[in-house]
Amino acid sequence: MTRRYSALSLFKEGLAGQTGWKQAWRSPEPKPSYDAIVIGGGGHGLATAYYLAKNHGIARVAVLEKGWIGGGNTGRNTTVVRSNYYYPESVELYGLAHRLYEGLSKDLNYNVMLSRRGMVNLCHSTVEMEMGARTVNAMQINGIDAELFSPEDVRRVAPIYNFSPDARFPVFGGIWQRRAGTARHDAVAWGYARAASRLGVDIIQNCEISDFIIEGGRCRGVRTTRGTIRAERIGMAVAGHSSVLAAKAGFRLPINSYALQACVSEPVKPILDTVVLSPGTGVYVSQSDKGEIVIGGGLDRIPSYAQRGNLPTLETVVAGLLEMFPIFGQLKLMRQWAGIVDVVPDSSPIIGESPLPNLFLNCGWGTGGFKAIPAGGTLLANLLATGRHNDISRPFDLDRFASGRLIDEAAGSGIAH
């Protein structure tokens, strides 16, 4: 009988031998038509469906996922949540996401295990320090929390970093965002799925879109492995597979797909309680709540749909990790994996109507869209419900590539690309 999670329900289930828990979301058969269809059951797709129901009262919605929900990049990322971006447009977008993240566990009645442990982007030279000061200033002016760290500050939050005099990447300081941290990635997908399902959204897994129904020049539905499903508003949030679906809809996107890898060590006792990123090594690292060291790095060098990653990049990442933390030389790697990410020339997402009327896009998050899930969902839901942009999504429309108003966050956000 247990539907809402609370201390009391936990306690009652403890007494009842954990036998009363209900399935977290329903798995209905697809209906022939909906008010809106969302393609892709990652974080962005599930959040879109949830906000369609919650913010706009549109609950006749289907989320269509070719595999299992959260099986794409949402379940494969290194879980870092931050909003240390440079341009005002990005600040609005990632700031919205960050604020929503902070209330998400309560909103969804699902613990997404947001941990605001802070993140430091290291500076390894006086020049990087100057760029760091510029970034901190920009963030502060835009109302985002940021601090410029001295070497002593870095030593305080990451004492195990390689501070030796002959270190290849000496620390001159860093950019600190205290509110940054991590969240449990699976929980974000599951929490949105459960909350959306409770509001009436149909979550349909093992349902691959093979084609679009195009009538009178507009998109009117999709053909899937589970039959034809119609809707007048269709949103797609399929990350690294956006170009594949765009080709079926008859257009191209400014996207290349690359594998992005991550790996985790065996679990060890708590040793690192913040997120550390080094632009010099291109590696960032945190410790999971289970004790594993979670390691991420740059993109693979070869455009790819092979969801496994290649060895040279993994070697670079591990070599970089050991430059940063020689103490990790004893650790065993437990797992390595990759996700296919959608890389856009200006490293900013694409949110807006596609060249095919009725079909709306949420893609191009590349290496950094986990932190943006609540905002991506809010904005795609708004587009599907109203057919129009709001002020936050407008700058991220596809038309920026023709108008030249790019939002080039490749350097500004300190992402390793």
Binding site: V244, R252, N256, I302, S304, Y305, P312, P345, S403
Partner: protein, 88 residues
């Protein structure tokens, strides 16, 4: 570690190569081109899943060439020097 075939140097380590974009994406020519034509040339990509024809550069020797490969299996099907004509 994968070896890529440079048409000039033979099989070399993948880390010596840099991806250059879709083959056949020829720079538009003419004075009064619509802005969309430039945007297409500069930004839009085919990004196929499976068979792909791409421009690569072998950074070590500096030569550009066309490589046909499968973006899922990473199998290389052909590798040819760029001729005087456009790589279509």
């Amino acid at each position: 570690m994968q070896l890529f075939p440079c048409p000039f140097c033979g099989p070399r380590d993948e880390t010596e190569f840099h991806f250059g974009g879709d083959a056949g994406n020829v720079r538009p020519d003419g004075a009064d081109l619509p802005i969309e034509r430039w945007a297409n040339y500069l930004y839009l990509r085919s990004n196929p899943k499976g068979a792909a024809r791409e421009i690569w550069v072998h950074v070590t020797c500096g030569e550009f060439f066309v490589m046909e490969r499968d973006t899922v299996t990473h199998e290389v099907l052909s590798s040819t020097a760029l001729g005087g004509e456009h790589a279509a």
